[in-house]
């Protein structure tokens, strides 16, 4: 199939950017979205033009690097899938596709479609870990974890930190990401000793990065490639409220 792409090109963080139109021909149904971009890039390089920069790594939906806003949807039209898992069979000959970077003040554009998501790392570093010694592995029955809590914690822990929640949020809020990181510990006994400290520190780091305020639009949940639920955001609100009252 033949496609028209409108791709955001931006030389660097400081230069203004804009959409540039490209024609791609001979795209097969079996290609992934990123392979289609590879084809275009090869043609651009042969022509002596600058290749389009985009982030990617695993190309199998586990690393969260591939951050693309495709036709106004984070990671494109599929639910619970990353950009690298999107396939060209979802498109038809003659389609026009607009590709933009994830947009937020806290995610500055590095070049073209690549954004700097280190804000997430700084939030994680503020409290998204367990620092108390939990000792060696104890007998399983000594530390009871209800199955539903284990399931919820694992669901929250499946967040790959891609930033789609921020990109899809009309307010560029990072609440779903922070909620997942707070939840994965709040639900388990190992995370409990530091739960207040963690909720306060990660909230503080989140606001300091300049993310927007959550207004419960739930576009984050709809865009999340790992299907992280907004019930985690309710938990974060609860954890933060609790910590604000109880923390020493």
């Amino acid at each position: 199939m033949n496609l028209t792409l409108k791709v955001w090109r931006q030389k660097d963080a400081k230069s203004p950017g804009g959409l540039v139109e490209y024609q791609v021909s001979g795209v097969s149904n079996d290609m992934s979205f990123l392979e289609m971009l590879d084809i275009l890039n090869e043609e651009l390089v042969v022509k002596g033009e600058d290749a389009i920069c985009f982030d990617h790594d695993c190309r199998e939906g586990i690393c969260g690097m591939c951050a693309l806003m495709i036709d106004g949807q984070a990671h494109g039209k599929d639910k619970a899938a990353t950009s690298c898992q999107l396939h060209m069979r979802r498109y038809q000959d003659g389609d026009t596709i607009t590709i933009e970077p994830f947009r937020a003040k806290a995610f500055p554009v590095v070049k073209d479609l690549v954004v700097d998501r280190s804000a997430f790392d700084r939030i994680q570093a503020a409290g998204g870990f367990v620092s108390v010694g939990t000792g060696g592995a104890v007998d399983a029955n000594c530390l009871p974890v209800p199955k539903q809590n284990a399931e919820k914690a694992l669901d929250a822990a499946s967040c790959i930190g891609c930033g789609a929640c921020v990109a899809a949020c009309p307010n560029a809020s990072a609440m779903l990401f922070v909620a997942a990181k707070v939840s994965q510990y709040a639900l388990l006994p190992q995370g409990r000793p530091e739960r207040e400290k963690r909720a306060l520190a990660m909230r503080s780091a989140m606001d300091a990065e300049g993310f927007g305020h959550c207004s419960n639009e739930y576009e984050c949940e709809a865009a999340c490639p790992k299907d992280i639920k907004v019930s985690n955001i309710a938990r974060l609100n609860r954890e933060f409220l609790r910590a604000s009252v109880l923390a020493e």
């Binding site: 955001w8 949807q73 806290a106 809020s173 300049g210 207004s215």
Partner: protein, 239 residues
């Protein structure tokens, strides 16, 4: 965090930190909205005395005004409205700042609702309505329409423009609440797998009931009520 460094008492800085935080502000915004819902219920319950006739409604209004705590309650109500509006506007600006360059194409994945998309618009509509509502019915801007409150209110409601705007505004209230109630529950951290979904559905029912309840007044007194206040309506028409 800045506050935490400069202030001397740990407890009070934690409180300041809470008020300054995005989540804290959101909780305050939701709390103000929640309390305003309480006002809506009380106000609607009082308004429905209109259907019990002029005497019942006038008596209710007199008893209400005779209560010495009413000025205090009115002050509290104004404060709640101002807090709700101020925090909403602040959040709006913060959110605009959080995405300085907008998308050329933004579609989303269908999670937003008509209510959530129009919160600012319905909020502004409700504010405009409240100003006109209080000005005309309480401060008698636009003239006194009858010898008592019942006649005054029904006199205004007979004006189709006034009644139409009333209906539009309370529909706006319903739309605002359709997002607001479930959003407030989420903000308060309600997350029980069995109760919360049910509560959110009840929130939607509440939104519809409030809108329908308030709208019943302009609809009935604007178009269907028997003309007991014929004298005033005729005067109205003659003007």
């Amino acid at each position: 965090m800045e506050a935490a460094k400069t202030c001397c008492c740990k407890r009070s800085c934690r409180f300041l930190e809470f008020l300054e935080s995005s989540i804290g502000k959101k909780i305050m915004l939701a709390l103000a909205g929640f309390l305003l819902c309480g006002f809506l219920i009380a106000h609607l319950a009082g308004n429905l005395f209109m259907f019990a006739g002029a005497d019942a409604f006038n008596h209710y209004a007199e008893a209400l005004e005779a209560n010495p705590l009413i000025p205090l309650a009115e002050g509290g109500l104004v404060a709640l409205f101002l807090l709700h509006i101020a925090l909403a506007i602040r959040a709006k600006f913060a959110n605009q700042a959080a995405r300085p360059v907008d998308y050329e194409v933004y579609r989303g994945k269908g999670a937003r609702t008509p209510g959530s998309r129009t919160m600012a618009m319905t909020g502004a509509l409700i504010l405009a309505f409240i100003i006109i509502h209080v000005a005309t019915l309480k401060f008698e801007v636009g003239g006194l329409k009858g010898p008592d409150l019942y006649a005054h209110v029904t006199g205004w409601l007979k004006n189709p423009l006034y009644a139409g705007f009333y209906i539009l505004a309370v529909a706006g209230v319903g739309l605002h609440l359709s997002h607001g109630v479930q959003s407030a529950l989420q903000t308060f951290g309600a997350g029980h797998p069995r109760y919360t979904p049910m509560l959110k559905k009840l929130g939607l029912l509440f939104a519809v009931s409030i809108a329908a309840g308030f709208a019943s007044l302009p609809i009935y007194f604007g178009w269907f009520a028997p003309n007991t206040t014929a004298c005033c309506a005729a005067e109205e028409g003659a003007q």
